[in-house]
């Protein structure tokens, strides 16, 4: 839609902006995104600051949901003697699964809604529209960092330490980030034509919690269905997270690499859809 070109003249105002009808495949201008990094940073900061605005217990709320759910599942397991197939201390397993899972769902649902949340700005000011989903992604990543602090404490208490696979943790996290971003961007452009899609996404993610190895081990799945089960890319991601955090697990190369491929494809589709809906965004919001 918009290209910028630096002209050769020495005048300070040498930037020329060309405005043309958008082509079928608009490119993402990373240069422009870079120019607006100040805004991206500000918006991320603003989101972080405002989510626990007027609250004294900000940190508590950030970690409360996984902690409470860990307690519920732990109590449930203890009382019902249900098998979960988990070989490490159960609270560690559930807490690590839930924080990552919640991160994934918050990123994708938040990104899906980000265009509507910034509608007022989008209709009045020009900025690279990618800033909306990206600032949300970064704010959620900050929350993930906060909620992983109790995990460190718990790991120390239970004496569970990571193996060499820890070096893969940033890569696994990046893959989950991209998966959530891709999914969210896909839905954000679909939500422009009908907001039903936001509900569809929420509902799908709710079901996804039970279809992913969050509170139970993948060993609970019958061997002949395991391949089908791991079609869910979050399956591979969660296995990889556990392997990176706890020395007990084999790193699930096959299923994680599948998840990486899936994330890249989904991100490409999401970006494409986002770009195509971005063209007439201000007219349609």
């Amino acid at each position: 839609m918009v290209e910028s070109s630096k002209s050769t003249s020495q005048a300070p105002a040498c930037e020329e902006i060309v405005i043309r009808p958008p082509g079928a495949f608009a490119r993402v201008s990373y240069r422009e995104l870079c120019h607006f990094r100040g805004m991206l940073w500000r918006k991320t900061q603003q989101k972080i600051r405002l989510q626990y605005d007027d609250m004294w217990l900000g940190f508590f709320w950030a970690v409360a949901r996984p902690l409470i759910m860990v307690f519920v599942f732990w109590a449930f397991r203890g009382l019902s003697q249900a098998r979960t197939g988990v070989t490490i201390p159960y609270p560690l397993y559930v807490y690590s699964g839930l924080t990552v899972w919640f991160y994934f769902t918050e990123v994708s649902t938040g990104v899906a809604k980000s265009l509507f949340r910034d509608a007022g700005l989008i209709q009045k000011v020009y900025f690279p529209r990618l800033i909306s989903p990206l600032s949300h992604l970064f704010a959620e990543t900050y929350n993930l960092a906060l909620s992983s602090l109790p995990l460190l404490v718990m790991m120390a208490i239970y004496g569970e330490y990571p193996g060499w696979c820890l070096i893969l943790l940033p890569l696994v996290l990046a893959q989950i980030m991209l998966l959530g971003l891709g999914l969210g961007m896909m839905f954000s452009s679909m939500a422009l034509s009908s907001r039903d899609w936001e509900r569809v996404l929420k509902f799908g993610l709710y079901i996804g919690l039970w279809l992913s190895p969050v509170i139970y081990s993948v060993d609970m799945i019958p061997k002949k269905h395991e391949l089908l089960y791991l079609l869910n890319p979050m399956g591979g991601s969660l296995l990889a997270i556990r392997a990176a955090l706890f020395g007990h697990f084999e790193f699930p190369w096959a299923s994680w690499l599948y998840a990486v491929g899936f994330s890249i494809v989904l991100l490409a589709v999401g970006l494409l859809m986002f770009q195509r809906s971005e063209r007439n965004l201000a007219d349609r919001i």
Binding site: M1, V2, A11, P12, A13, C14, E15, E16, I17, V18, I19, R20, P21, P22, H35, F36, G38, M39, W41, R42, K43, Q46, R49, L50, D53, D54, G120, L121, I122, Q123, K124, V125, Y126, F127, S189, M190, L192, S193, S194, D196, W197, V269, L272, M273, R276, S277, R279, N280, A282, D283
Partner: protein
């Protein structure tokens, strides 16, 4: 900006900009199609019916250039496409076709206080807001004190949340940020008038300061006073077309004249016989200077100082009127209609040759043609004192669609020159519309043909050599 360069730099250029909207009528699409449409669109389908009826052109072939340091106003009625133009230039919406180029750092202020967040403090909002307009943190920090001082907000309040501010304080702070962005090109939707009198004065001073600094300013306004005050040039948009582009004073006058709607009939003298008529300055029949309040506002380019009116006049205009073939008054005409200009005038002295004449102007004030009396036998014949009626017939398929202005006059030819008794500039103006569907017109099957006039001519084609 460096020292003024000898040849003016173009800050904004728009070439044939058009913007089409599809009217998506809510609830007309089947729900399953509505849900799937984003997926269908992704794969190139989408099968949206492209009928002309649910399309609407907000802008249509808009072309103009703005030089660096120019101050240009965009005027026009609601829905004329002014805000769409500003939104395209500020890259909020893309054009459907055409191209625009912008040289220099551009800031658009479609609304004062966009992106202000109540939960943030004044200081944080300054930084967030400046970053929205692409100002870096360092630049903002440098200007921070100026911004706060300009806004007149007590420094005790600046670290307070904006939700505790009064609405005036919010607007003042928001405007101060905008005023300190210091762009090369500024797009404004209405010149903001915020705060009390003192602050408004300060805002105007600031705007004037930007003008002195040769900043390029383009703004949309409905207030003709501020148009003429701030801008040397104005662009008048009507239904997405540029109607007039020129000195702001002329355009503003033409616009306000048009806004008072077409004048298809005018009367000057009171119901009086010729003998009983006393010319009075108030009726303004001489040159229409004060004619019936609607006034004649534009100086005709053709009307030079040496062409003075005959004193005392030998004729007075009584009324002029646009009529149709049936002799009835016409408010608007289509291109395929015969249009008459009916003159009623009094000859005040016996034995004078008095002839009516009319000049026809396009909406952009171009003289299309002059119609003078041509019948040689009648032309020579002196008239008796009394009231006369003349009708000038304009044949169908001559005028182009648009607002036509007519200047009427009463003259006497004297040895190759004209003795003018009455000249009433732009006495009449009426709309000419496209011929109804199915009627042959000079447009043929094209969407639009350009030209000052649009005669329906005949063509002849013969095959000379057939393969």
């Amino acid at each position: 900006m460096t020292e003024p360069s000898p040849e003016p730099v173009i800050a904004i250029s728009a070439k044939d900009l058009s913007k089409r909207y599809r009217l998506e009528l809510g609830g007309q699409k089947a729900p399953h199609l509505a849900l799937l449409s984003p997926l269908l669109r992704l794969f190139g389908g989408g099968a949206q019916r492209k009928t002309a009826s649910n399309e609407f052109w907000a802008l249509h072939g808009v072309t103009f250039e703005v030089k660096q340091g120019d101050r240009v106003a965009v005027i026009g009625r609601n829905g004329a496409g002014k805000t769409t133009l500003l939104k395209i230039l500020s890259r909020i919406v893309p054009p459907t076709s055409g191209e625009a180029r912008i040289r220099g750092r551009l800031t658009s202020l479609l609304e004062v206080g966009t992106g202000f967040n109540n939960a943030l403090t004044g200081r944080e909002n300054v930084f967030v807001n400046a970053s929205l307009h692409g100002l870096s943190k360092r630049d903002t920090a440098e200007r921070f004190d100026q911004i706060v001082e300009f806004s007149g907000i007590d420094s005790r309040f600046i670290d307070m949340r904006v939700k505790h501010y009064s609405s005036g304080m919010r607007l003042r702070l928001a405007f101060s940020i905008a005023a300190h962005l210091d762009p090369d090109i500024m797009l404004l939707d209405e010149v903001p008038a915020v705060g009390d009198m003192a602050f408004q004065e300060k805002c105007l001073e600031r705007v004037e300061g930007m003008m002195k600094a040769k900043r390029t300013i383009m703004f949309v306004s409905h207030d003709m006073a501020s148009v003429t005050r701030f801008c040397e040039r104005a662009i008048w948009l009507e239904q997405g077309h540029v109607i007039l582009d020129g000195p702001s004073k002329d355009v503003a006058l033409a616009y306000s004249e048009q806004a008072r709607k077409a004048v298809t009939a005018r009367r000057w003298t009171p119901e009086s016989t010729v003998s009983g008529f006393q010319p009075s300055p108030a009726d303004g029949s001489r040159n229409g200077a004060a004619a019936s309040g609607s006034g004649q506002l534009l100086d005709e380019p053709q009307w030079k100082a040496d062409q003075t009116l005959q004193e005392p006049p030998s004729a007075e205009m009584v009324s002029v009127c646009v009529v149709g073939s049936d002799g009835r008054e016409l408010k608007a005409a289509t291109v395929d209609q015969r249009i008459g200009i009916e003159f009623v005038y009094d000859v005040l002295r016996d034995g004078k040759v008095v002839l009516p004449a009319a000049n026809f102007y396009t909406p952009d004030d171009i003289l299309m043609f002059t119609a003078v009396y041509t019948d040689p036998t009648y032309m020579q014949r002196p008239k008796k004192r009394g009231r006369y009626l003349s009708i000038l017939w304009v044949p169908p398929h001559l005028l182009s669609p648009g607002a036509i202005h007519v200047t009427v006059s009463l003259t006497t030819p004297v040895s190759g020159k004209l003795e003018r008794h009455v000249v009433i500039a732009k006495a009449l103006s009426f709309e000419v519309y496209e011929a109804p569907f199915g009627v042959l017109s000079a447009r043929g099957t094209y969407r639009d043909v350009k030209g000052v006039v649009r005669p329906l001519l005949s063509w002849e084609t013969r095959a000379l050599d057939l393969a």
